[in-house]
Structure formats: structure tokens, C-alpha cells
Amino acid sequence: MLKLSLTQWIGAGVFFAAVFVVAPVTIAVLGRTDLFYTLTSVGLLAIASAGVWLTFYIGRINIGQGAFALLGAYVSAILVTKAGMSFWISLPIAGLFAAFVAVLIGLPILRLKGVYFAMITLVLTQVFTLTALALPITNGAKGITSIPLPGELSVLGLTLIPDFATLDNPRQAFYYTTAVLMVLTFAAMYRLVNSRLGHLCRSMQQNEELASSIGVNIAYIRIVIYAIASFFGGVGGAMFGSIAQSVYPSSFQVADSVNFMLNCFLGGLGYVFGPMLGTFVLYFGWDLLFEFGKYQMLIYSSVLIFLILVLPNGLLSLRLSKKRGQDK
């Protein structure tokens, strides 16, 4: 089905080994189980960033992914705490609900382009936060707390995932769950980008008028992509809520939405795996700069601006230009 080159197979192999073997073993040896939590966060942020990347792919700057992460977190939290639903069922529902809301919001706003679309999405996160503060079902500023850990998932009596509450180290379980979700997300993204839908997205990114003149229903594809993008946001957010066992209106803020976008810029808008690398680098970059105290933000921003100026096509363009150099 998927034709991968040898390099791609090796790349995938190294990636799987790093995620599923090297990282857990290293953490076990170091005894630093807190790193599970850190890496889980990176993985979930990467999933949400993947959605932002996808909206870039149809030529829209999306600074509103935090809104859908927040939405997903609340949907799952409410379903689990108020309806007693299994977390594993609430997770896809959270994603689908985010996608559904994205369709409603996208219908009017996806007509906008460039800075206009970006500005509207920038406001979205704030709107969702205020809504969460105002609604009774979200419990206002107090948020939803004491969310139980994910329970057992079994199919026909066969336990696929054990009850997290019975585990010695639920963090490790969250890590593996996130790793699997991240792999699925990026595999789906890779497939999508290399399928006809991806080609149509590229045609729209380059020229919407021309795309519609060759018969592409651009309004429809924009909505589909925005819905998929928001689905990723909703799933990422729901996972976060479950790990933190709580959701507040401030769980995802405008700054988070901006970061999702920066992750994509930094990793590279032309590369499916850009958001994953970007998230990783930005997350750890920020932590490393902790030493610098009050200068943390200044250095962080300067480095970011510098990187975007020097590498306008993102970190992954380094790898490609090197390859091209070798070919010559």
C-alpha cells in the first residue's frame, strides 16, 4: 500500500526504536519517571500542532488550535465525570465534537484568507475560554477536577488496555498511549498529504482561484481539512485533561495556540514531520533556557526569530538541503 524508500524505512525504524525502546529504557535506568510526563506532553502538543500544520497546508494560518484542545478536554472530562463514560470512548467523541464545531465555525471564517483568518482564529481561544467560564456544564472558573484515570478497555472479554488506576506507574501508560496516538496521527497525515486530498490542498495553497477553475470544490476541502485539524486538537486536549485529571478554562490559552503555530514554523511547513520536530525542539529549548531566569523569554524569542530568518523553511529543510548537496 505505502511504498517507502529504504531511507524512509530506516528512518521509521530508528524513530520507533527511539520512542518505544530507547526512551523508556533510558528513563528506567535514570529512574526519572517524571520524564515520561514531559515526553507525553511533547507528544500531545505535537498531535495538536499536526492539525495546525494541516491548515497551513491549505494556505491558512491557524492560531486557534488551543480552542479545540480546550473543547476536547472539556468534552472528555464531562463525559467521563458526568455521564460515567469510559475515557477510551470519550476520546474519539472529543475529537469528533471538536471537528463538528470546526465545521460550524469554519463555514463562515474559512472564506477569509491571510491575516484576516489568522486574526479570527487568534480570538477563538479567548472566546472558548470565556465560554468555559460562563457555562454551567463546564463548572466555570472552578473547572472540572478529580477526573478518574482511564479505566480498562476490553473487547470481547480481552483486555486491550488495563485500568490505569491499578498500575504502579500510570505515567508510563500515558506515555505509551500518547506514543501510539502520535504515530497514528502522523501516519495518517503522511498518507493524507501524499494522497489526492493532499495534492488538492497543495493546489489550493498555491492558487485557490485556479483550483476552483479546474473543478475543485475549495469550500468543501477547506472544511474537511479544518475539521480534521480540529479533530487532532480535540484528541490532544482530551488526553491532556485525563493526564492532569483536571480541566480549567485556562488549561489552553492564546499562548498555547501561538506555540502550536510556532512548532509548525520551526519544524517546517513543507514537511509532514515538521510539527513533531518543532514541538520537541521548542519544548526542550524553552526548558533549557530556564537557567537564564528573567531573560528566558528574551533569549527564547530572539533565537526563534533568528531561526525563522535563517531557516524560513524550517529545521527539516536542513536535512533536505544536505541531501541535495550530496547528490551533486
Binding site: M1, L2, R191, L192, S195, R196, L197, H199, L200, R202, S203, Q206, N207, E209, L210, S212, S213, I214, G215, V216, N217, I218, A219, V224
Partner: protein, 260 residues
């Protein structure tokens, strides 16, 4: 000859400006019809209404008796009426071949989800897109630049690529807005031959807007003349060359000259 496309009392107003006033003419199957007129006469506006890129203020456009105006562009494209753009409008970071493949969207049999999952129909589509693209590239004599990224092509090739993208949709009617702009005489003449070949061998009805009068006279079966939004003449190249209102319209404007 039956009318394939009927432009019925079409009017377009932009605020106080009437860009097209009560235009009526028809286009027959398999003919090459040129719309000429000085700058600002309303030619591009007319093309945009025929392809539903702009709504009409009044009147309608019929294709095989069915209204195609005031719809959405992709729906009109689906019916087989495809426009190219006055400005060179292409997919910059695609190669010539990729552009032609993506432009075959309307020929797809599999659904978008089918492509995602890699169904049999999707595979067959992909294969057929490739063959069709290679045929079209050869037909258009673009084999040498098939692998070039569009943004690296010179102006003349870009125009040809714009037409190739339009042709890849397998249209019944192709609307070309100034397809020879920016070309030298030789390039223009070879494009004229190409457009005729497209009409003859692919059975495409062609409507075009063009300023190069020698090209227009050579290529057209019939000509429609617009001036300040009004249709002032319609006829064969010979009739148009001898039409007094046309000569007057062209002498009246500084930047255009009718080549007679």
C-alpha cells in the same frame, strides 16, 4: 450549427459602472470565437460571468440550454466550461506534470477517502492520470519541460502551462483570457496553431480574449467586439475588419490598434 453556449442579455454593474451592458450572442459547437475590444471594454468581466467567477447583474448564460451563470466556479467546471486567467495563473511550486495531474481532478473515479485508503479504483485513477498527463504533454509539445517546476519557466511556457492545466480537465468549452500576452510573434503563431489543434483534435470549443489582431484574425471563426461594455459588432474576421463602428472604436483608443 447549434448553439452550445448562449449569452442572453447579460449585464454586469460594479456600483455605478456598467462593465457589460445587455450582451447577447451565442457560441457554436467546435468554433473558435474571439472577444475583442479596447482595455476596460469588459471582456474579462464577461468571461468571469460565463465561468461563474462573478455573478451576473442581469441576464443569464446557457450551456446546452441549461443555465450556468450565478453558480459556483467548480460546478461550472464540472459541466465542462473551464477558464484560464489573464494573469499567468499556475501552481508555482508544482512541476508541469504534477500540475497536469492535479488538474485531472474531475476525471477521478475514486473518492478522496478512497485515495487515503489506497483502494483499487484509486490506484487505477492514479495510473490513468499519469498516462493522460503524458499524452497531453506530448500533444502540447511540452515533453522537455515536463519535469520543470512552474516557477522556473519563462513567460511563454507559463501561458502554455495555463492552457495545459485547463485542457487537463478535458473541457468542452475553454475560455482563454489573453493567452498570447507577452509572447513574441513566433511564439504567438505557434500557440495559434496549438489552439487550433486543440479544437480540431480534442473537439474543444474555444472562446478567447486577445489583443494581438493578427493572431485574432488568423485563429477566429467569428469575432465579437465590445466597447465600453457594449457589444458593437459580431461577425467573421473579414466582416469585423470592415465594420465602421469597430474601426472607430479602435481609432478612438490610444493603446490598441486593429491590424488591418
Amino acid at each position: 450549427m447549434s448553439a452550445l453556449l448562449e449569452i442572453n442579455h447579460v449585464t454586469k454593474k460594479f456600483g455605478g459602472l456598467t462593465a457589460n451592458n445587455d450582451i447577447t450572442f451565442s457560441v457554436h459547437e467546435n468554433e473558435i470565437l474571439s472577444v475583442i475590444g479596447p482595455n476596460g471594454a469588459g471582456k474579462s468581466t464577461l468571461f468571469k460571468m460565463i465561468s461563474s467567477f462573478l455573478p451576473t447583474t442581469n441576464g443569464e448564460v446557457l450551456f446546452k440550454g441549461e443555465r450556468i451563470s450565478n453558480l459556483r466556479p467548480h460546478i461550472v467546471a464540472r459541466k465542462g466550461i473551464v477558464r484560464t486567467f489573464q494573469e499567468t495563473t499556475i501552481f508555482k511550486s508544482m512541476t508541469v506534470r504534477e500540475s497536469i495531474i492535479v488538474a485531472q481532478h474531475l476525471r477521478a473515479k475514486a473518492s478522496l477517502a478512497g485515495y487515503f485508503w489506497g483502494t483499487k479504483t484509486a490506484h487505477e485513477d492514479v495510473e490513468s492520470f499519469g498516462h493522460y498527463a503524458d499524452d497531453l504533454i506530448e500533444f502540447l509539445g511540452m515533453s522537455e519541460i515536463a519535469g520543470e517546476q512552474a516557477s522556473n519557466l519563462p513567460q511563454g511556457n507559463l501561458r502554455a502551462l495555463g492552457i495545459a492545466i485547463g485542457l487537463a480537465t478535458d473541457p468542452k468549452v475553454l475560455l482563454l483570457d489573453e493567452p498570447f500576452a507577452g509572447m513574441n510573434h513566433d511564439e504567438t503563431m505557434s500557440m495559434v496553431d496549438l489552439v487550433r489543434k486543440v479544437r480540431d483534435e480534442r473537439e474543444v470549443t474555444v472562446l478567447l480574449v486577445e489583443h494581438d489582431m493578427s493572431a485574432v484574425m488568423k485563429i477566429s471563426d467569428r469575432i465579437v467586439v465590445l466597447n465600453f461594455g457594449e457589444m458593437i459588432a459580431e461577425g467573421t474576421p473579414l466582416e469585423i475588419q470592415n465594420d465602421e463602428r469597430v474601426i472607430e472604436a479602435y481609432l478612438g483608443s490610444a493603446d490598441d490598434e486593429i491590424g488591418i
